[in-house]
């Protein structure tokens, strides 16, 4: 089973959009069976309707879209309550976007959400690499809020075109509960190094569509130098385990 570890559904306040029909068509085109779908940052910043909209899209997708709840930590206890409600409504994890919601991932405001996710038995996925908000070492600290719970970082845990943020991303990976996604990570040696150093169970295929290209992101994994067993974990096995997907 091929699982795309992250697609964004809806019309974003920040100008990008992807609807479920287009997402499924894209998945069909590249041979993806299931995608982990998260809501975009909505116009108006109320996450309840967008969590419900993505949940509805998932219910209509015959199992091909699996949702995560997106909340804004600045909403305090209401964010925790929304996480609980969304998980009760079928969400398989918590998605946090420090860059778009403008919070620091290792701020204490995030701790109750991380702890609630762990209590609910669902992983946390974080949009990684945003300067000031989700730098790799900040992500590494935040992973320690709930050290037994999977903490998944997009883009190899970084967004840096010099490769210089890779050192800090490797330090973040020293936390055993941290996984990184492949989306947008241009250094093939970094992706291969994650597998060699930390194990193939720590790397997860994701496209981050529509911000990144489904076809190209799939090639990123296909062309890297992994064994068949490693590639099977990266392309689907790890997501099945982390998000509790049926085999």
């Amino acid at each position: 089973m091929i699982v795309d570890g992250l697609v964004h559904l809806g019309t974003s306040h920040f100008g990008y959009e992807l609807d479920a029909i287009t997402a499924l068509a894209g998945m069909n085109a590249v041979g993806t069976d299931v995608a982990i779908a998260v809501p975009v940052h909505p116009k108006g910043a109320d996450f309840v309707p967008v969590n419900d909209a993505v949940a509805a899209a998932a219910r209509a997708s015959q199992g091909r879209l699996v949702t995560l709840a997106r909340v804004d930590p600045w909403n305090g206890p209401a964010a925790v309550a929304e996480l609980r409600r969304a998980v009760g409504n079928g969400a398989r994890g918590l998605f946090l976007h420090p860059g778009e919601e403008h919070f620091r991932i290792n701020d204490d405001r995030v701790r109750p959400l991380a702890e609630a996710a762990a209590e609910l038995g669902v992983p946390v996925v974080v949009a990684a690499g945003f300067h000031l908000y989700s730098e790799p070492l900040q992500l590494g600290r935040a992973a320690q809020f709930a050290p037994g719970n999977p903490f998944v970082l997009t883009n190899g845990g970084q967004l840096n075109i010099s490769g210089l943020m890779g050192f800090d991303a490797e330090l973040a990976l020293a936390n055993d509960n941290v996984l990184v996604q492949t989306s947008g990570m241009y250094r093939e040696d970094f992706l291969e190094g994650v597998v060699a150093t930390f194990g193939p169970e720590r790397l997860m295929f994701a496209t981050a569509a529509p911000q990144m290209d489904m076809s190209y992101e799939r090639k990123r994994v296909e062309l890297a130098h992994f064994t068949d067993a490693e590639r099977a974990l990266i392309l689907g096995g790890n997501a099945q385990r982390v998000f509790g997907l049926p085999a």
Partner: protein
């Protein structure tokens, strides 16, 4: 003939990154890339005093495959000008590489401008690291482009993750700017660049061998440029810019 405009050779103990000429050739062969521009990871003079010889030897060992770009620090201006002159006129180097993040030299600074003008006078382009970090954004490098209208300036990575639209804007305003496609993850932006500035000012690069030339080539394929434009981006433009025979 596919030409990769951006590859690296160096054993950098400081960074722990090891990239040899043989690594480049292996990655090029895997990708079906015939020729590539190669440069060091760190700057000379100063941090990397043997950088010129390293690249010259790699090119000499792989004639017709590897072409040298000399990575220099404009802060040491006179020495850098002398090194570039020797590299181009005596050793056949084809370009200048500047990484303002590692040299701490603003692209609009007097030393950088003088060195880039010197490269233009020698008839070779200047490839800038151009991404999201201070000193390297497209608007920073636009200062050089405006001050050196007779020099060809290549924006490596065409703006990185967050500055790609800005890189296309800069190229639209400055006719001496060329966009290089490596590392940034957006095939559709290659197509947008070709539409807005023309296929003759976009060049394929990989930032290999540690990023994959095979994957980076697929980015151009997925961009869906059409045969004529794709041929220019993948090699025709490099042939023209670097004065290479087909």
């Amino acid at each position: 003939m596919i030409f990769d405009m951006h590859m690296h050779i160096e054993n950098s103990t400081a960074l722990g990154w090891q990239m040899s000429a043989e690594d480049c050739i292996r990655a090029m062969d895997e990708a079906g890339v015939e020729r590539a521009a190669v440069m060091t990871l760190t700057d000379l003079p100063g941090l990397n005093p043997a950088g010129l010889e390293l690249i010259a030897e790699a090119c000499a060992n792989h004639p017709g495959r590897l072409y040298g770009f000399l990575r220099l620090n404009p802060a040491l201006l006179e020495t850098s000008k002398e090194l570039l002159t020797r590299a181009v006129q005596e050793l056949g180097f084809r370009g200048l590489k500047l990484h303002p993040v590692s040299t701490l030299q603003h692209p609009g600074g007097a030393a950088t401008i003088e060195l880039v003008r010197h490269a233009g006078e020698l008839g070779v382009p200047t490839l800038f690291h151009c991404g999201d970090e201070p000193l390297s954004t497209p608007l920073s490098v636009a200062q050089t482009a405006a001050a050196c209208p007779d020099a060809t300036i290549v924006l490596g990575h065409m703006g990185g993750y967050f500055h790609v639209d800005e890189a296309i804007d800069v190229a639209e305003r400055h006719g001496n700017v060329v966009l290089e496609t490596s590392a940034m993850p957006y095939p559709d932006k290659i197509r947008a660049a070709v539409v807005r500035i023309g296929a003759d000012r976009v060049v394929f690069g990989s930032d290999g061998p540690v990023s994959s030339p095979a994957l980076e080539r697929q980015k151009v394929v997925i961009a869906g440029l059409g045969h004529e434009a794709a041929d220019l981006v993948l090699g025709g433009n490099a042939d023209r810019m670097l004065g290479l025979a087909a």
